[in-house]
């Protein structure tokens, strides 16, 4: 009978007494940072930084809608002339600016890019304020024809010295209105009013207008209404 082999002392534990707590804390940190990352991504794409709501883009000319629309009451269609006829509302060609500005403020610094554009035959290059992805086929003319006013989507441009994006213009925003257009509809002669505000009974009036305009919301939420 042999001596039992001397037992080796057990190895020192890899983790001390606080190991479990540390592990739980680490798990917590990982969970929190994942949540934080998700929140950050969510916030990023919902922040005005991404949606551009309220941001005024750098434009080649310091053009004031407040002055031209709010103070001078120039009709939207004077410059955005194809809004009733085409998908694209139209940007004024330089010669439209010169209708007045060949007479007024002709030699101001603010107007210099416009004059240069006309002289050199080079277009002004504006930054788009409201942008849609390429797979969205938005049509201005049908919205005008169905009583959706300009300011409903573009905001109170008559108050904006520098034009800023007013709405997020994401798909939910579009579909919200396509599901229930009543809150945005106006009589046709008020479509271009820059200081239009919904009357107290807009829901009711809107529903009456929907019937008058033959608006069928079933069709309005079909994918092919906006995507082709």
């Amino acid at each position: 009978m042999s001596e039992p082999a001397p037992q080796r002392p057990p190895p020192a534990p890899l983790f001390g007494a606080g190991g479990t707590a540390l592990y739980r804390a680490a798990l917590g940190v990982v969970a929190l940072s994942l949540l934080g990352a998700a929140t950050a991504v969510f916030a990023y794409f919902h922040a005005p930084w991404w949606t551009r709501v309220g941001y005024a883009e750098d434009q080649p000319v310091l053009f004031s809608h407040r002055h031209h629309v709010g103070e001078l009451h120039i009709d939207c269609r004077f410059c955005h002339s194809s809004v009733e006829h085409s998908a694209f509302a139209g940007l004024p060609p330089t010669e439209t600016c010169l209708t007045c500005h060949s007479q007024v403020f002709t030699d101001t610094a603010m107007l210099r890019p416009v004059v240069a554009s006309a002289e050199r035959g080079r277009p002004l290059r504006w930054q788009a304020v409201t942008r849609l992805p390429d797979h969205v086929y938005f049509d201005h003319s049908i919205h005008i024809a169905k009583g959706v006013g300009c300011t409903t989507c573009h905001g109170e441009v008559g108050q904006m010295a520098l034009l800023a994006k007013a709405e997020r213009v994401d798909m939910r925003w579009c579909v919200d209105c396509h599901r229930n257009p009543a809150r945005a509809l106006r009589p046709r002669d008020e479509v271009f009013e820059a200081d239009w505000h919904p009357p107290a009974d807009q829901e009711q009036r809107g529903r009456a207008l929907m019937a008058a305009y033959h608006i069928n919301t079933t069709f309005l939420t079909d994918c092919n209404t906006c995507h082709r």
């Binding site: 194809s82 009733e84 139209g90 940007l91 330089t94 930054q127 092919n224 995507h227």
Partner: protein, 928 residues
């Protein structure tokens, strides 16, 4: 060798059908993927900016975002095809037929549809070249100025011009003007294609009034200057439920053509046997004929006697003189001269000022009579028969100039190559086959520094350039008399000169008919030359749409082949794709074999358009050059052909591999007064019934009218930004056409029945594709459209696997042209350009539905039947396709669908397709 079965190939699903193309291996792919991920990281801050640049001075006619339409005309073998071109912000994107034009009637063909792509072809010639090096028009003008003076001193002796025959009054006027100023100059004309004149006259026909049509080797439904009118007239007498109005078509031809596929009685026959057949039809002496010919002749003879004055006989322009004469005699004898008549030739082939064809020019070059040769818009080095040795003859002229859209085989051999304007870039005028004059109005300024042929002739004559606009107006000002400006505006508006203004008839010479035919020699096989159904004489070889458009019946794409009947191939022991050597008259070429059903035994058909060496990036090296075998200009048949298998094999790409219906009634047939198949039992459905309130879009295709010409396929490609995938990808079955024409064959020999089945998306009410999409990227609209939403699609391809009709197409790769390619200018801004990894399919042209609906609602009216026409429907010359609202019982589509015999495909699957068919009509002669 296993038995040949042309209808059921062994390799229906080719190997590698799910592999990436060889061009990008796994390592390349990972490298590219890594690079693009890195680049994506660099540009990822904030949404992309978008710049808007309005006009400085906005053109009056342009409303940004709205298409503008202009009438114009396209030359087709020198004759006019009247068009309405759609332009977006000044760039033409799509062509439609002009309803005012007598030879298009609002319809188009595949080549017309594809011609807009050639405008933006990146391989087009962009600047003049001298000796292969870039040069300028100024340099050419200076050089020509000196040469012109020397020529003028000799009255133009030594100057030769070679042009394609044309009907353009302005071009012919300019040419006459040049010949007046330089009377000793010579004008030669060359075309590798058919001549439609005979003794200074050209024949026309009232196809719609004939009860019986006998076509002798004539593909008049697709390959003729008046083909669109003929097809329309023919199809109007050919509706599924046409009843007693149905016409009857007899066809005797060597190789199956589109016209032949519509025949009620079709006889595959070698051209050498035609004389005996025609004599038998005349004399009734059928004793010596084989059984099939005997039956055909006696049946036709009896039928001709029965139909008397309402029988029409049409001989193809490729047919020999005796056939042409027989056809004319037959029409005169049966009293149907009012159905077939002739008038003075409109194309310049028969112009007395013309000095002849390529053979005469080659002779003059060899004799040293030509010092200055100017080639206008043709490519004789390629299309000339090798007998003329034209490439060598070019060296006999001291000064050679080539005006052409491409620096092609001729352009690279000439001292000067000058870019020619595309027809959408230049002013011109043309005559339709019936004589109607059309103004060819440009849609866009020349993209490159190019000129039209008429402008070039004016410059050659005067040494001073004049704009084509002035030349055309000069021609017509004289004819218009009073109020020219008012009339001119009207002509441009409608595209046709329709107010009675007439130009003096061009001079016609009755002498100098068609070129001689090859003398038939005994022994061996017969070799037949034909223009390619897509590529013509090779002028469309660099057009990727036409290269990838399946040839009728073989469905061959991207290459041409020697077409043999399956029996002949079996006797020779060759299979599809085997390379054989064809030798004939001392010339030989190698070509792969394609099996052609319905072809007469003992002949081989070769098509022009292949084997190009200087066509451009698309056309170079595709197929073989059939001109190398041709004995001469205007020769369509050669005898004594010998075939030797070489043992080599070439991969040919077909888009359809299975031509048998296997007992399923995919294409149905009916006869006048025949009973329709009983209506399908309603199988019930768990889904709510259609139609629901609102519109219900649907389509009906009448197979009795459909001639299977492929115009719809090409029109869909142009309308819907459908990419081409190239031969490698097409071989793997990845072609992208949203509508295809499935072909089915039944029977053999003279009993062959052919069906062409246009297959767009069926827009099933119970769509199997929708049930399996995990992301809801394909769902139904409230109006019954099976919608495809690209931005949701993640590319699982489940939908395609679950589609019983196989109409869904997947973007395995990014098939878009490179970013700097001008091809993008062709694209329709109202249709999404799909990216890699998404499924796509026919949308019933939803952009057109939306556009028409918005236009109607903005105008404050309801949508009317006919407001919406899909691209395939609009292009169809036979009016086979009808689209509309099923919820409106009075709409054209509802009426069609109520007709007896209306059926859907594979309805036993209970898919309830919105696209349905009417059976194909067969109207055989009653047995005598």
């Amino acid at each position: 060798m296993p038995p040949l079965n042309p209808l059921r190939p062994a390799d229906e699903f080719p190997a590698g059908a799910s592999d990436p193309p060889d061009a990008i291996g796994r390592r390349d792919f990972l490298r590219l993927a890594g690079a693009s991920a890195a680049l994506a990281g660099l540009s990822g801050c904030g949404p992309p900016a978008k710049t808007l640049a309005p006009y400085v001075v906005q053109p009056e006619s342009i409303i940004p975002g709205k298409a503008a339409y202009y009438a114009t005309a396209m030359p087709w073998e020198g004759y006019a095809r009247g068009l309405v071109a759609e332009a977006h912000e000044g760039r033409p994107t799509k062509l439609e037929g002009n309803p005012e034009a007598a030879e298009s009637l609002g319809a188009t063909d595949a080549q017309t549809q594809a011609s807009v792509l050639s405008l933006y072809d990146p391989d087009r010639s962009r600047s003049p070249r001298r000796g292969g090096f870039p040069a300028s028009w100024d340099a050419f003008e200076a050089e020509w100025g000196a040469r012109r003076q020397a020529l003028a001193a000799k009255g133009g002796a030594g100057l030769a011009l070679l042009a394609e025959p044309t009907t353009s009054p302005t071009f012919r006027r300019e040419m006459r003007r040049l010949l007046e100023r330089l009377p000793r100059a010579r004008w030669y004309q060359h075309t590798a294609l058919a001549r439609y004149d005979r003794n200074g006259r050209q024949a026309d026909a009232a196809v719609g009034e004939a009860d019986l049509i006998f076509a002798i080797g004539s593909d008049f439904l697709i390959s003729h200057p008046a083909a669109l009118r003929y097809a329309r007239d023919f199809a109007r007498r050919r509706r599924s439920r046409g009843g007693a109005r149905a016409n009857r078509l007899y066809v005797a031809e060597a190789a199956l053509t589109v016209t032949g596929s519509m025949a009620d009685h079709r006889l595959p026959i070698l051209p050498g046997r035609l004389a005996a057949l025609l004599a038998a039809i005349d004399g009734g002496e059928t004793a010596g004929l084989p059984a099939a010919e005997r039956e055909f002749a006696s049946r036709l003879r009896a039928d001709l006697a029965r139909h008397g004055g309402r029988a029409l006989c049409l001989a193809g322009p490729e047919q020999e003189g005796h056939v042409q004469e027989w056809a004319a005699k037959c029409n005169a004898r049966s009293g149907s001269a009012r159905l077939a008549w002739d008038g003075p030739a409109l194309r310049s082939d028969a112009d007395p000022g013309s000095a002849g064809g390529l053979r005469e020019l080659a002779g003059a070059l060899e004799a040293g009579e030509v010092s200055d040769l100017v080639i206008l818009g043709c490519n004789p080095v390629y299309t000339g028969a090798p007998g003329a040795d034209f490439a060598e003859r070019l060296a006999d002229a001291a000064f050679t100039v080539h005006l052409g859209s491409y620096a092609d085989e001729t352009g690279v051999l000439c001292g000067w190559h000058l870019p020619e304007s595309h027809y959408l870039e230049a002013w011109g005028d043309l005559l339709g086959y019936g004589g109607q004059a059309l103004i060819q109005q440009p849609l866009i300024d020349p993209l490159y520094s190019s000129r039209s042929a008429a402008e070039m002739v004016r410059f050659l004559a005067d040494g001073m350039a004049a704009p084509g606009y002035d030349l055309v107006r000069e021609t017509w000002r004289a004819a218009a008399g009073k109020d020219f400006e008012g009339r001119w505006a009207g002509w441009l508006n409608r595209g046709v000169v329709d107010d009675g203004t007439r130009l003096p008839a061009p001079p016609v010479s009755a002498a100098g008919g068609r070129p001689e035919q090859a003398a038939p020699a005994g022994g061996g096989l017969t070799l037949l030359f034909r223009p390619d159904p897509n590529l013509g004489d090779g002028r469309w070889s660099n057009n990727a749409w036409l290269q990838e458009l399946p040839r009728p019946f073989t469905t061959l794409v991207w290459d041409n082949a020697a077409c043999l009947s399956p029996d002949l191939a079996g006797r020779l022991g060759v299979r599809e794709g085997d390379v054989i050597e064809l030798s004939c008259g001392g010339r030989r070429i190698s070509a792969p074999v394609a099996l052609a059903r319905g072809q007469a035994d003992g002949c081989v058909v070769v098509h022009f358009g292949g084997g190009r060496t200087a066509a451009g990036g698309v056309g170079n090296g595709r197929g073989f050059d059939a001109y190398r075998l041709r004995p001469g200009e205007g020769v369509w048949r050669a005898e004594g052909l010998e075939i030797r298998p070489t043992g080599a094999w070439q991969r040919l790409v077909f888009t359809q591999h299975h031509f048998a219906m296997d007992g399923r009634d995919l294409a149905r047939w009916t006869e006048p007064g025949g009973r329709a198949a009983p209506a399908e039992p309603d199988r019930g459905s768990l889904f709510p019934p259609w139609p629901r309130p609102g519109h219900a879009w649907a389509m009906s295709i009448d197979l009795a009218s459909c001639i299977g010409c492929n115009a719809c396929v090409a029109a869909c490609q142009a309308e819907n930004n459908i990419p081409v995938v190239g031969p490698e990808e097409a071989f793997r079955g990845r072609e992208m056409h949203w509508i295809r024409i499935a072909r089915y064959f039944e029977g053999e020999g003279s009993g062959l029945r052919v069906a062409a089945l246009p297959l767009p998306c069926m827009h099933c009410e119970n769509a199997p594709c929708e049930l399996v999409c995990p992301v809801g990227a394909t769902v139904h609209s409230s109006e019954g459209l099976n919608q495809m939403i690209y931005n949701r699609c993640v590319g699982t391809r489940y939908c395609s696997n679950n589609c019983p009709y196989k109409v869904r197409r997947f973007n395995f790769f990014d098939y878009r042209a490179p970013a700097d390619s001008p091809v993008h200018l062709q694209q329709n801004p109202n249709v999404t350009v799909r990216q890699r990894g998404v499924m796509e399919k026919c949308t019933y042209c939803v952009q057109r539905i939306d556009e028409a609906r918005i236009a109607a609602e903005v105008a404050g009216r309801a949508l009317r039947d006919g407001d919406i026409r899909t691209a395939c429907q609009q292009a169809c010359p036979a009016e086979a396709i009808v689209f509309g609202d099923l919820a409106d019982p009075q709409s054209a589509v509802s009426r069609r669908k109520r007709e007896e015999g209306d059926y859907g495909l594979l309805t036993d699957l209970n898919t309830r397709p919105r696209t349905t068919y009417l059976p194909k009509l067969s109207n055989p002669a009653p047995l005598a």
